[in-house]
Amino acid sequence: MNRLDALRGTTPQKPHDARAIAALAANPGCSRRALMDGAGIDKDAAARHLGFPAPFGQSPFAITRGNAFEALVKADGCAELLRMLRDLLGLPIAEVAYHDVENVGAHLRHTHTRTLIDRAVRQEDAGTVYDHPLFTLDIAGHTAYLEPDVVAFQLGGRFHIVEIKSFAVIDGQADPAAVAAAARQAAVYVLALRGLLAELGHDPLRVSHEVVLVCPENFANRPVATLVDVRRELAVLRRQLTRMTTLDRLLDGLPDDLTFDLLPGEDGLPTRPVAELADAVRGAAARYAPDCLSTCDLCFFCRDEARQEGASDLLGRHVRDELGGVASVGEVLGLADGTRDAAAGQEEIARLLRNAERLRRECLT
């Protein structure tokens, strides 16, 4: 881990939250992000210092709306939630026990969550709904505290994570990107709860891979619940997290004196020359995709870099995958009009590109 600490330097570490961890799974191929997150670097501060601040974070209106909707769902001992769970999962009428973990002080919340979950598994005092639990997850040797606004509840001996989101489900359809983000975030909680059960010596698979997603229905504020399978997100997340703990392979490829240190001065403002930091960041390869714009603080820096290099990444993940092995737009055009010879391994894609170019010319003339 010493190498990672050296990468971070004197800048204080930034704790991970569920959103950040979920974003990791969004772009597993990016080693720049893996390194910076592994070292706990404040990417937002780095991006601002580099001159590419990302207009990032949620709008205050969205946060207020989210909180109001969450309060509605949880009001009166989770009355709305219980109705949905009875409809959706056939929760028995007698199962209504509600535990608010937040009733203990903030510093005891994690311990209290553990005690309650342990008791629930042992069937001693099985509650149904656990409000405001606090989980932990080990991220590259550091403990991240996850504060799910969600409720973990027990049904027939299995725990389900409930994720409350304020985007609307209209006629059974919701914004796929929003659902995917919610599923990724819920997967983080599933993973954390499974870790907790394993730690307590219980079967981790008692946490269901199906999470309950609660959203407003149609144009009203009435909540509706759907089951979302997060097995795929779990697999990606797990892979990404193990990759973060085994960053050695990535670290070996880096020059020894590389550091992302911002050298904060007395007032906490970064003092490191911008050009030097930019060079250091470029030292770790990024894998830019347009989706990064909604998940990563460094997105504008990476996009700028991709533009300067004329990288095919700019055209989106789908195009990049089709053009496997050809990195830049110029190279692609060269292969297509025959001014450039295909390197080893590029013959297949070169043939396809030439055919495409011929078709295009025939269409246009």
Binding site: A75, D76, G77, C78, R83, A97, D100, V104, G105, H107
Partner: protein
């Protein structure tokens, strides 16, 4: 008439003394509440003395406090009652009075959101949830400076650790069993509230759109209470459905609550029994000698 004036004068004197004590103790919150009460009392006195006569003859506006649970009503401050009865606009009824009205109707620990909804639906209330956030702290401070100085206090519900439950308000005159919450209590209290709202609504002569909407919202979450029908819910059906579900939970909940109440009365002092034992963090902060709940 004149003994009402005498009463008021006595009350005004009391309130003035109260304001002075509060100011000396630098308890501005209590002082502010007392001042508001004082002003109300003085205004009532003015009206009475200038001989508007029938001011006292005004009957209470229909349905204002019809289902008073009995414990709080006779001991209420008179000036308050007078202000409420005069119907001089909702501003004259203090926030705590409005909260008390709503809680008396609900007869169970409730969250601010529900209290506000009930107050707006049935009492033309003007309170908003943010006004309720500091209420409990103010009440606690007032109780500490002069214990049992008021006929009732709005206080916290107690959890199984005997600490204050988040966001739940109760009335100090309720029995201890009703002021503690076990794991099943939120549901039981919700059903009780729905039952009380339905009964209250069923007893009113005309229809009340706000009340109907509140009941419809509650009924949706009770199985068999009429979520399939359009239009306002049938109060009788809601009562029936709530009773049916209550039967499932009552036994365990009553047992849990009785145990908790016993623990609370044996372990807590007066302040903590109403406002909850300090959590460990506050104990550490104040290094107080109060016994925490476990």
């Amino acid at each position: 008439m004149s003994d009402r004036l005498d009463d008021l004068e006595r009350r005004i004197d009391e309130l003035r003394a109260g304001v002075r004590t509060a100011m000396r103790a630098r308890d501005t919150a209590t002082a502010r509440t007392l001042r508001a009460e004082l002003r109300t009392a003085e205004r009532t006195w003015d009206t009475l003395v200038s001989g508007d006569g029938p001011a006292t003859e005004h009957g209470p506006p229909a349905g204002n406090v019809p289902e008073e649970s009995g414990q709080g009503a006779p001991r209420r401050a008179r000036a308050h009652g007078a202000a409420a009865r005069r119907g001089d606009g909702p501003r004259l009824v203090t926030v705590r009075e409005q909260v008390h009205q709503a809680l008396a109707l609900l007869d169970a620990p409730a969250q601010a959101r529900l209290i506000v909804a009930v107050s707006q639906a049935f009492f033309a209330g003007s309170i908003r949830s943010p006004q309720l956030t500091s209420l409990r702290r103010d009440e606690e401070r007032s109780f500490r400076s002069s214990p049992y100085g008021r006929p009732y206090y709005l206080c916290a519900a107690l959890t199984d650790r005997l600490s204050p439950a988040r966001g739940l308000l109760t009335v100090s005159t309720w029995p201890a069993e009703r002021r503690v919450v076990g794991p099943l209590s939120p549901r039981v209290d919700f059903l009780t509230c729905a039952l009380r709202v339905a009964r209250h609504l069923g007893g009113l002569p005309g229809s009340l759109p706000d009340g109907d909407r509140l009941l419809a919202r509650m009924a949706r979450n009770i199985p068999g209470a009429g979520d399939d029908a359009f239009g306002p819910p049938d109060p009788g059906r809601v009562v029936e459905a709530a009773r049916r579900e209550l039967r499932v939970h009552t036994r365990r909940d009553t047992r849990d609550r009785a145990q908790l109440a016993k623990r609370a009365t044996s372990q807590l002092d007066d302040v903590a029994a109403l406002f909850g034992a300090a959590t460990l963090s506050t104990v550490a902060k104040e290094s107080s000698t109060m016994r925490g709940g476990r």
